[in-house]
């Protein structure tokens, strides 16, 4: 059964011709806010401000049933080989990031999942000992994580979200780009003698990561230090980076955990444990695991990831909205949208279904966002009055992280923050009439609100898993493979061809006819002295143009 051939698709298409108008007087009521919500694990997802009614929700649920999303979620968490395209050469792998944290209640008992969880737990124990040894020796005051893509975005987003819970004995830095300035900037600021570098690469051969590792190795040597005593690796067993002679320690990752889903594996946990401590890491993993269990629930009033996925499909495929903004009202979650960009867009930015056919419907939306109150003074203008409707997924917390607050004019900052959050959710939906057309708010702009108690390790684990499972559900509904990323390959291939051109140029070798001429065109442009920047364009000396 394909998405657009489903019965529900046709019914929903019909319903989408005249969806709820949230700006209509009396449509959004307190009762609607109280009634239209999901709830699980101490979190609530309010969707009274989406353009849905009970009938649409029923039909979205019917769609989920037709697309067998629970079976697929169960298959994923149980370790079936779901990362594949039928009839084509493809990765043919299990997808078991959920096993990386399945150490708590209601463990999955399917053999591949249980084995993966057992292996993962052995790494957790290894990490516990490693961190305890480091703490005892007091050797490391700085941790530099070198990795790219999922080995950077997720760990960084989670670290920043939880920095308030760090024990404060170590500073953390992330290095990802092959941008030499990025490395130089970190090196300026740290004491190499007390630095642990954590290098992350599944294959042990990621160009950017190896380059940056090499860079740090040379700096350790220049400082008279033995790099092998300062660098730990997170890599696949048997990779070139799984080498006790070159690394202080090696932690393992597996091919059934994709980069963008790897933050609860050692990819994220080594650095997180060095800064937050093992207890906080275990709380974080427990939150993620609990939400994985919730993702198996039938009722979408409990299964929050499914609820969000269905609302997203409604907005994307039926209301035809091309983007999706994720806006946390917490500055600590500053980089969470960047992580979601990878998790969501790399998973569901696909044009081929699992049968290898071009899809005839839209797949993953463009994900973007920034923390809330700053955004309010920025791009909210477009969200309220632009010509393209932007569905928003707000995230808010009842309490703040540090427990430090100030009462100005009768209310605390956290209350002001929440007031802004609630106001935006309501205002986008209802709009407001004005006789001045420039002050008119047409409203009817859909949004939902995920509310939790506090941005702490347990909750951040839940939120991470909420989004991971939301993405998986949308992939199941669209019938695509959310777990490969062939779309990032072409750039790599062409980049290597251009790197060869730079190499030839340095060596003074001639460019041959079958070299990459388009790449060479840009190289030639680099040599243009006009790229020196002190002239004033076509202006003449008298200031005439």
């Amino acid at each position: 059964m394909s998405f657009i051939d489903s019965k529900a698709y046709k019914k929903l298409s019909k319903m989408a011709e005249k969806p709820v108008d949230l700006s209509k007087e009396g449509e959004l009521t307190p009762d609607r806010i109280h009634h239209m919500k999901g709830q699980a694990l101490g979190m609530k997802l309010f969707y009274g401000t989406e353009r849905v009614d009970e009938k649409v929700m029923e039909e979205l649920y019917a769609l989920a049933s037709e697309m067998k999303v629970w079976d697929k979620m169960d298959a994923m968490q149980s370790g079936e080989v779901i990362n594949k395209i039928e009839g084509q050469e493809s990765e043919n792998r299990m997808v078991l990031h959920t096993a990386m944290r399945d150490f708590f209640e209601h463990k999955n008992e399917a053999k591949p999942a249980a084995e993966a969880a057992k292996l993962a737990y052995a790494e957790v124990e290894k990490l516990r000992k490693f961190v305890a040894d480091c703490d005892k020796q007091g050797r490391f005051k700085e941790v530099v994580q070198i990795g790219i893509g999922g080995s950077d975005l997720g760990p960084k987003a989670i670290y920043l979200s939880l920095e308030a819970f760090a024990h404060g004995n170590r500073r953390v830095h992330f290095l990802s780009n092959v941008d030499p300035d990025d490395a130089a900037h970190i090196l300026q600021d740290i004491d190499l003698a007390h630095t642990l570098v954590v290098v992350v690469s599944k294959s042990g051969s990621t160009l950017e990561t190896l380059t940056n590792e090499q860079f740090f190795r040379s700096k350790f040597e220049e400082a008279g230090l033995n790099p092998n005593e300062h660098i730990a690796s997170v890599t696949g067993k048997g990779s070139p980076m799984d080498d006790p002679s070159k690394y202080l320690a090696s932690f393992y990752m597996w091919d059934y955990v994709g980069g963008r889903y790897s933050v609860t594996s050692m990819v994220g946990c080594v650095t997180l444990a060095m800064s937050l401590g093992m207890d906080h890491v275990m709380e974080f993993l427990k939150g993620a695991s609990h939400m994985d269990k919730i993702a198996l629930e039938k009722d979408f009033h409990v299964n929050l990831p499914l609820l969000s996925a269905l609302l997203g499909v409604w907005n994307r495929n039926f209301l035809k909205l091309p983007t999706h903004a994720v806006i946390p009202y917490s500055n600590a979650m500053l980089r969470f949208p960047a992580h979601l960009q990878q998790c969501d867009m790399e998973s569901n930015g696909k044009r081929i279904d699992k049968m290898g056919r071009a899809v005839e419907h839209d797949t993953g939306p463009i994900i973007w966002g920034e923390p809330g109150t700053n955004g309010q003074h920025s791009f909210y203008q477009l969200i309220h009055q632009g010509t393209t409707t932007v569905p928003v997924e707000f995230i808010g917390f009842r309490e703040n992280q540090y427990g430090v607050d100030i009462n100005v004019k009768g209310t605390f900052s956290q209350e002001k923050l929440l007031s802004n959050l609630f106001a935006q959710s309501i205002g986008l939906a209802t709009g407001k009439h004005s006789d001045n057309p420039n002050k008119e708010f047409t409203g009817n702009r859909p949004n939902r609100l995920l509310l939790a108690e506090k941005c702490d390790p347990y909750t951040v684990g839940k939120i991470l898993s909420y989004f991971e499972n939301k993405v998986a559900f949308q992939g199941f509904i669209w019938g695509i493979n959310s777990f490969d990323q062939e779309g990032v390959q072409l750039g790599k291939v062409l980049a290597n061809q251009i790197i060869s051109l730079f190499d030839k140029k340095r060596k003074g070798e001639a460019i041959e006819e079958d070299d990459f001429a388009l790449g060479q065109a840009y190289l030639d442009e680099l040599d243009d002295p006009a790229l020196h920047g002190e002239d004033m364009g076509s202006m003449d000396a008298a200031g005439n143009w």
Copy 2:
């Protein structure tokens, strides 16, 4: 003449039915790359990878002529009152951010512009003396800028872009949100006795900023320090923050400089000068001013902001693409896209034209982006293979900032970085065929590439002004007012109503019938003990659902 009534609009609409197909064999050639570019001030803008040909460019130029964009740019820079809506109550202001840096070649001689530049230069001189005094006294080792929206995003983006040029004697922090954790996090890490706080608010009454200022004042007092000796203000003359008894110094800003265009005024320059030194700040201002002059050029092969604006209009209104990604291949420019989100989306996310009529065409796109090589391992999947085409504006630099680099396997990191940049630009355009549908790249995805020598103060000034003037040109073409922001008002009004509800609740006052019932609904939800987070949803103890 409105945009859609223009002759060019009709012709371009026709041309857009069959635009250039970049994926066609032989369409993208080295010659096309070399030929289709603009060039000024040592920067090049390559657009051979956009879906345009010479005829489209000619017609876009005709559109610019019909919409009188040069007259409008000249009017803006000369201080005409262009921030207004005809026949409606509106701000009725000049728009003179270009005067904040008009201290160099070819000064604008119109009276309002010259007067504004004179006032601005007086502030620059005041700042020069202030920084020299601070340097001599050695009092300050930390600078905390408190501001929100344009008083935060722009200054932070520029500071990070140029941090490599800081003299290193002072650390810089930015505080924007009414998120109490944000302030607490900064306070954890600084020595208040050596801290200068720069508070920025034009009106002197911005809620978030006043709250954060108050927070810092109380912390200075707790530490036995006199806050008035540690806080400088940037504000409008005569505002509550223009008070020598309460501030170490006050720098002025004016109502003809909008927040999102204010980074070259004292809003950005005070903190920038404290960390980068005055010479670097003057280079930065010179770059911005030089590009303002380029924005007056007729020829779009020289007028880079206009060239980019026209290509953007082609993508948005004729190819109907809803978003625009800005992707710098420089980690230092990490937060530049967030600044552009404000600059562009707050300016052009409008649904009313300057005559007060609802527009019948799309206006500003959704702006998003992250630095390049990390993005390649992330959302590029969707950019290459997703169902929604994303036009990309790449930014690259021939040289790196720190002059530190490493040669791995024959090439330097900067060369690898550039190789990736060129590869993406080419690959998005050409695509690549494969018999495996999942490895097929359909290509034909438009992008352009702004290339400069080095991400230094002069160049960052040019890039900032390039985007500011691009945004202005698009507003001129669409016939909208890019300089007000009525769309951010509703949220403020509703937030204040909810803040009152929190206040009443604390005081135990009764909620009245005409209180904001929708806001109260969310407040009631906050009191639900279910928001405590340790239960497991509907799972029973045996793990059955």
